[in-house]
């Protein structure tokens, strides 16, 4: 097996909006790659530059400087777009069309034949939970149904890579669950997925790697497992009995005292084992131990807040 080829290559990408004094730098020199078969989450607060980056990948926006390549081609070429399934951020599809007609339009534009579409459309509507809705006018579709249809149009031709902007926008919990299932299937089939989302549990569940962007710059780029590792938190609730004193090494960790009970939080697995051992040796009664992982969401919020604080301090 050779090295996996890059599907998306962004290098020193700068994208600006507006002109003159109203010029806004939405993306500020970011570089990243997405390789074949990877599932990468692109997360950031509102206005961080996620959609701008994705629109640039698709060739809708032109960078001021830097390069973007898709499948080794310049972004936005017909050949690169042939191989991509794209879901825009909340689209309201043509209200005068029926779901089947819309999928025929998008499938046809992907070069699919009428015969292929006849087979694919019912299968696809079933997959996204819109079975039996093919002949309904889209003006009667809810926001969630439109989003499901958007996902259907993106995957209609079994593209090699998927680029989704705000993946689960407008979907209810059932819709999000269904979508995760569809995407897991796609991921397991070895396809490449790159998506932005506000739903961080989705990112945790689906992604191999996460790229976090804040104010146009990448602040973290790491495998999900690496981001979760330092987040392990252990909590021990104990009390000292029969006049035993708190070991000095434990006291230094600053446990919170509530009556005769102590509560201690530790974020290192080795230290946690050592403390439990020392407390046992010292005759402490350990009432409960628990371990918890902070969610990616908590990590993200801390990161964004700390960036804000740094800027405030500067």
């Amino acid at each position: 097996m050779g090295e996996k080829r890059p599907i998306v290559e962004a290098k020193d990408l700068v994208v600006e909006y507006g002109k003159g004094s109203r010029k806004v730098r939405a993306v500020d020199g970011i570089s990243f790659n997405v390789t074949e078969g990877e599932c990468v989450g692109f997360i950031g607060a509102n206005g961080a530059g996620k959609s701008t980056t994705i629109k640039t990948l698709m060739g809708f926006l032109f960078p001021v400087s830097g390069t973007v390549r898709m499948f080794g081609e310049d972004c936005g070429t017909v050949e690169s777009r042939r191989r991509i399934g794209y879901l825009p951020e909340v689209a309201l599809y043509y209200p005068f069309m029926k779901a089947r007609e819309l999928l025929e339009l998008y499938g046809g534009l992907q070069g699919m034949t009428k015969h292929e579409l006849r087979e694919r459309i019912p299968e696809l509507l079933n997959l996204v939970g819109l079975q039996g809705k093919g002949e309904i006018l889209l003006r009667n579709f809810s926001k969630g149904m439109q989003q499901r249809l958007g996902i259907a149009q993106a995957i209609i031709s079994h593209p090699e890579a998927l680029i989704f902007d705000e993946l689960s926008s407008g979907l209810d919990p059932v819709g999000r669950h269904d979508l995760r299932r569809v995407l897991l299937d796609i991921k397991n089939s070895g396809k490449t997925i790159f998506f932005s989302s506000h739903e961080l549990t989705e990112v945790e569940t689906l992604c191999d790697r996460v790229i976090m962007i804040h104010e146009g710059r990448i602040v973290t780029e790491a495998p999900v497992s690496d981001l979760m590792k330092p987040l392990n938190l252990f909590e021990i609730v104990f009390s000292m009995q029969d006049g035993n004193t708190l070991p000095e090494s434990v006291e230094r960790l600053g446990p919170a005292r509530d009556g005769n009970q102590y509560r201690l939080s530790i974020n290192d697995v080795e230290l946690y084992s050592r403390v439990v051992h020392e407390l046992s040796q010292a005759g402490a009664a350990i009432h409960s131990t628990s371990s918890k992982s902070r969610s990616l969401e908590e990590y993200f919020i801390e990161l964004v807040k700390s960036s804000g604080n740094e800027e405030g301090a500067a």
Binding site: V78, R83, Y86, P88, Y94, G108
Partner: protein, 270 residues
């Protein structure tokens, strides 16, 4: 989902047909066309009533024919303009442009598809309503002394005029809001001939009159392509060179407008 990708780059003709079909469905399911058809039916009923109450002179026939053909002519243009001017702005507003242009379709193909579809819709409207405008013929069968060749010339130049209005509708919709583009083109369509005559009369002796005249001749003059009144006035057909000159005039301005639209849209940040 383990299936191999079935995506191919469709031929431009297929993409244009599909985009055109989309516009066709839009027109078919919106109200505008039916409103125009309804108004034309009211006209036809009015003509039949006029015949029934005994208004049968030739002047009335020509007046009614002019009224019907003018309405059909305007309706074809109006439908093409309304449809063309909202295509790109609506697609941007509803974000449907993004999944469309994410498919292997060039921006030029997109513009060409929209233009062909809106032009075809306008021409189809012109044809259908023009048929109804001939109801006076049923009511006044003796009044038939009109030139068949001029009728053909009127239809050909009318189609070119619709193609031009659709191209201008698409072009202006890229630079100004749809309401503004509709108003500007409608004003040009209806009053440019008079406005140009007024400008030349008012500034005809000025130091830069020659330059003004030169500039004004490059602004599309729809009245040159409108032969409805000439036809219903019973005037003879245009000479071959004059007709060809007008056809080339309409074709060239349309091509220029489309070219500009393509260039602007290609460079536009979406």
């Amino acid at each position: 989902m383990s299936a191999e990708s079935r995506a191919r780059i469709p031929p431009a003709s297929t993409a244009i047909t599909l985009l055109g079909k989309g516009v066709g469905i839009e027109i078919f399911r919106r109200k505008e066309f039916y409103v125009l058809l309804f108004l034309m039916c009211i006209y036809a009923v009015g003509v039949i009533i006029a015949g029934a109450v005994g208004i049968e002179d030739a002047a009335t026939f020509f007046f009614l024919l002019n009224l019907g053909l003018t309405f059909a002519y305007l309706s074809g243009h109006l439908l093409a303009l309304l449809t063309a001017a909202r295509q790109v702005p609506k697609e941007l507003e509803h974000r449907t442009l993004y999944p469309l242009l994410a498919k292997p379709v060039t921006r030029q193909t997109y513009i060409l598809g929209k233009w062909i579809a809106t032009t075809a819709a306008g021409i189809a409207t012109l044809f259908l309503l023009a048929l109804l405008s001939f109801v006076p013929w049923l009511v006044f069968p003796e009044a038939t002394e009109l030139s068949g060749l001029l009728f053909l010339q009127m239809i050909v130049l009318g189609c070119l005029s619709i193609a031009l209005v659709a191209a201008l509708g698409l072009l202006l919709s890229l630079v100004v809001p749809p309401g503004v583009s509709l108003t500007v083109i409608a004003l040009f369509f209806l009053f440019w001939n008079q406005a140009k005559a007024f400008l030349l009369a008012w500034y005809g002796d000025g130091p830069a009159a020659g330059f003004l005249g030169w500039v004004l001749q490059y602004i599309p003059d729809f009245s040159k392509l409108n032969l409805v009144t000439r036809y219903t006035d019973g005037v003879g057909p245009l000479g071959a060179s004059e007709f060809l000159g007008l056809a080339v005039y309409g074709g060239l301005i349309t091509a220029l407008a489309l070219l500009l639209t393509g260039v602007l849209f290609e460079r536009r940040q979406l």
